[in-house]
Symmetry: C2
Subunit: 560 residues, 2 copies
Amino acid sequence: REYRGAPTGTDLECEGWRQEAALRLLNNNLDPEVAENPEELVVYGGTGRAARSWDAYDAILEQLRDLADDETLLVQSGKPVGRFETHERAPRVLIANSNLVGKWDNWRHFHELEAEGKIMYGQMTAGSWAYIGTQGIIQGTFETLAELARQQFDGDLAGRVVVTGGLGGMGGAQPLAVTMNRGVCIAAEVDEDRIDRRIETGYCEEKTDDVEEALDRAREAVRAAEPYSVGVHVNAADLLEELLERDFVPDVVTDQTSAHDVLEGYYPSGYTVEAADRLREEDPDTYRNESLDTMERHVDAILELQKRGAVAFEYGNNIRGQVAEHRNHEAAFDFPGFVPAYIRPQFCRGKGPFRWLALSGDPEDIYRTDEAVLKLFPEKDHLRRWIELAQEQVQFQGLPSRVCWLGYNTEGEGTEGLTERARFALRINELVADGEIAAPIVVTRDHLDAGSVASPYRETEDMKDGTDAVADWPILNALLNCAAGADIVSVHDGGGVGIGNAIHANNHVVLDGSDLAAKKARAVFTTDPGTGVIRHADAGYEEAITEARESGVEIPMDER
Amino acid sequence: REYRGAPTGTDLECEGWRQEAALRLLNNNLDPEVAENPEELVVYGGTGRAARSWDAYDAILEQLRDLADDETLLVQSGKPVGRFETHERAPRVLIANSNLVGKWDNWRHFHELEAEGKIMYGQMTAGSWAYIGTQGIIQGTFETLAELARQQFDGDLAGRVVVTGGLGGMGGAQPLAVTMNRGVCIAAEVDEDRIDRRIETGYCEEKTDDVEEALDRAREAVRAAEPYSVGVHVNAADLLEELLERDFVPDVVTDQTSAHDVLEGYYPSGYTVEAADRLREEDPDTYRNESLDTMERHVDAILELQKRGAVAFEYGNNIRGQVAEHRNHEAAFDFPGFVPAYIRPQFCRGKGPFRWLALSGDPEDIYRTDEAVLKLFPEKDHLRRWIELAQEQVQFQGLPSRVCWLGYNTEGEGTEGLTERARFALRINELVADGEIAAPIVVTRDHLDAGSVASPYRETEDMKDGTDAVADWPILNALLNCAAGADIVSVHDGGGVGIGNAIHANNHVVLDGSDLAAKKARAVFTTDPGTGVIRHADAGYEEAITEARESGVEIPMDER
Ligand SMILES: NC(=O)c1ccc[n+]([C@@H]2O[C@H](COP(=O)([O-])OP(=O)(O)OC[C@H]3O[C@@H](n4cnc5c(N)ncnc54)[C@H](O)[C@@H]3O)[C@@H](O)[C@H]2O)c1
Ligand SMILES: NC(=O)c1ccc[n+]([C@@H]2O[C@H](COP(=O)([O-])OP(=O)(O)OC[C@H]3O[C@@H](n4cnc5c(N)ncnc54)[C@H](O)[C@@H]3O)[C@@H](O)[C@H]2O)c1
């Protein structure tokens, strides 16, 4: 079916902006600029859909168009199933996607139901109508590195060298995310075309075949404390071993080759891409074996660099697990995953990927919010860097939008006890009320957030108290945000880690300049990051307990 | 610890009746008259608890005592973990118990976490503070038989014979539930003490060892169209075979022996209780074998009676499953379970076990509501019967309370589009406002309700469209009731069928006579039964689609 993305401008198809926002977000998710395969209603992440079928899509739109300001629409796995009178402060849309009773909570049963059109895979932001394209990836990588810089260095990566591998779909964001943090990035990539693509789109500055040359340029940049990035056309394991030989110890070492897939994702050393592709066809067993041999050397080199002083972490590609499992190499887990190391400390503070979209469709509205967020948080250096660089380098896709990490933190003068998220949302609401912004702004976030997810393979890996799999938290998060008055609330099973491996929640608040929006924003942007703080405090994280005390988050059993 | 149950009267410990209601309900759940083992915080159903620990219990009370009218307390698996400002119309307490991510959603992982004090088993009404003692059992059995009478006979059991087995904890309610429906009950029970206990407490009228005598008395009662019940001291399988020999075909045949447990629950034929108990000790394998032999004969006799015209159903004791699994006897499933047969048709109409408690502690308040419900629904014959008999025969335990089944059904004169549940709740609210009732009434329900549960082994067994395990529904139910303004909302994993086998939700509304309470009641008692109607309409049940059309429940894709 012919498809064109979200309506824009200030004329409404619906009875109010909250319903209109839901309608535009659903359509934005399916914008050909945003979605991977809009014809199939697929937004991203394999089969993550925005609606169960085109019939269901049409019915959702029909419902939204005449939904009253005190009604609530129910969407069950991408299908509208009911509509009831509630009240204005309540959500306009409630969504539950792909949730299954535990014993049946697996791909096999899911696929049986899916084949009969009885369920839909919602991924994370696909089924909750909150996807905003690739901007999320680059921003997430930027933020992870910023946290690393805060923890390990002086708050940025100036004069620091990050060595990594893989310049593919997600990994390609690494060089830019490093230079945005003022650092120097050396990235190994076996496929020269991939390096070229990153250079064309401005994600990487230079390329070379020569490791020595790459190191020279990196040393120069370090001396000048200038950002710099180079793609090295070499196998990542070989690059790290060459560094060890030369005793070149980078400040940070990580990796985003597709090591999660031994056969289709990772390239073994000693082969060109073409030769490896041929081997994969002709002799997959040998390929697997060679691939794992290289991975083992790769992990050993990371561990040795760590020993010599580099900060090492795994970037979610499971390279530790592969080597531990298939090579019986338990030491592989001697370097940490990225969530426990760099995301969790932020979750403890209630920080997470806050994002907002301009319903007008006008980029100027986003620039106005950019100004506002910088003015509100002048002390946040890397926020300024991110916003400035995003303005320069990140193209809008679909409805203009922005992401940045904001947290709880009610401290400081003039905050009036409001969280970072609430302060910014209220400021946007004022700008909409004053006509400085053409149409309402919708604020939402990733499902990966401080209090909204139970996911033992990623967001809640290795929790301090072993409660990785306890799903009471995302359910309480959803109920509480519903109670606080979010305009859309959703609960999903699955996401990036698959059916049965995670439960997570999301919410949207529509800032239309009204007092009602202000009330909703004030409450939701306290409860939402707040559940992150209490979840981590309950697990025993000192940072969370400190945040709670400093910011006045009530922890009923703190003293017991 | 010394324990005394809920405070009563009109003096408040808390800042408002909503918080006070939560406090009293939690304490009522733990009343020694109500709970199985209050010292261990166990309310019922094995280890179903009301709070994670006595420390957690104290902290919950402390929180409730100074919770403001616009605040919401979060309880995670029986422990208070947070508290946030929301608004008056929002819930005061949000509860999530024993929810786990699918892959870890099993007893093994639950018990690991429980041993470390990280989680609690909430059962159904234990962890949501809505248990009211054994009244629920007798009323549920009464209602199941009433539905059977509606479906199969002329609306009651007058002149009908129900044959069953088992007069234990739950099964003992059967004779009274039959006579309350005006029928005749013949119940086989091997343990004479159990029969005596039922007679003492008025649940059963007579006992005998002699099948012939029981049949004579039953025939007499049928002729006179009088209610009558008799416990026959005999094995249930033997009783049924004797009926077949005599070609005595009862109108209804079912069973509540503890067949779910081959060794500890069910008694084999040919043994006295003492002899069987000895065999169990000395030779459990032979016991199991004999037990299954008897069960197979038991099921065959039920099937044969069914063939000769009796209405047969399984009453949730898994006797069909035992015989099918251990005796390879597939035909065992040729008679239905009680939910698909007698509960689901009610769920399709949004009907379920509505219950209410008098916070005053004064039985007079309940009698006042009894009058009100009878006046409101003069056409509901079995409701009148139930209320009158409950007044006579069912003792209050803890806070005086009552249960009855009410549904959606907005039809008829003077309903003003309100559901049965809403009409009654609003009437109670008026009585509280007028001072006719001494203190507020709290309305809640079982987690077993029309739209609130996904449980493939019980409430959603054998759904028409195969969506038994889809858990989006209870999550939407909880979110929607939260949006509508219920005062307590809860989501649990587990319950009677165990961890990983069910997800279900509950809610409470406090009727304090205020306008706010009226708004909450009107909304919640529409959304709550409403989700039952839409869930069953979505699964393709004609009764639900009809109810939706007649009562004006919006089904967005009805016509597609
Ligand atoms: N949040 C998260 O958990 C998260 C985030 C980002 C990426 N990841 C993981 O990172 C990995 C990369 O993701 P992607 O989307 O960029 O994958 P991709 O397949 O698009 O790219 C992988 C790149 O690595 C290159 N490569 C493979 N083996 C190599 C080797 N030995 N040396 C040098 N280059 C090699 C390939 O040529 C390719 O360009 C995946 O495993 C992904 O799951 C996880
Ligand atoms: N909602 C539901 O699904 C539901 C509701 C009620 C009961 N049940 C099931 O019903 C069964 C009974 O529950 P309960 O709490 O009364 O159990 P219980 O163990 O207290 O009582 C069982 C009774 O059956 C008697 N008995 C056992 N075998 C017998 C035989 N062959 N012949 C005659 N009598 C026999 C025992 O002496 C005992 O008195 C259980 O399996 C329970 O799970 C299910």
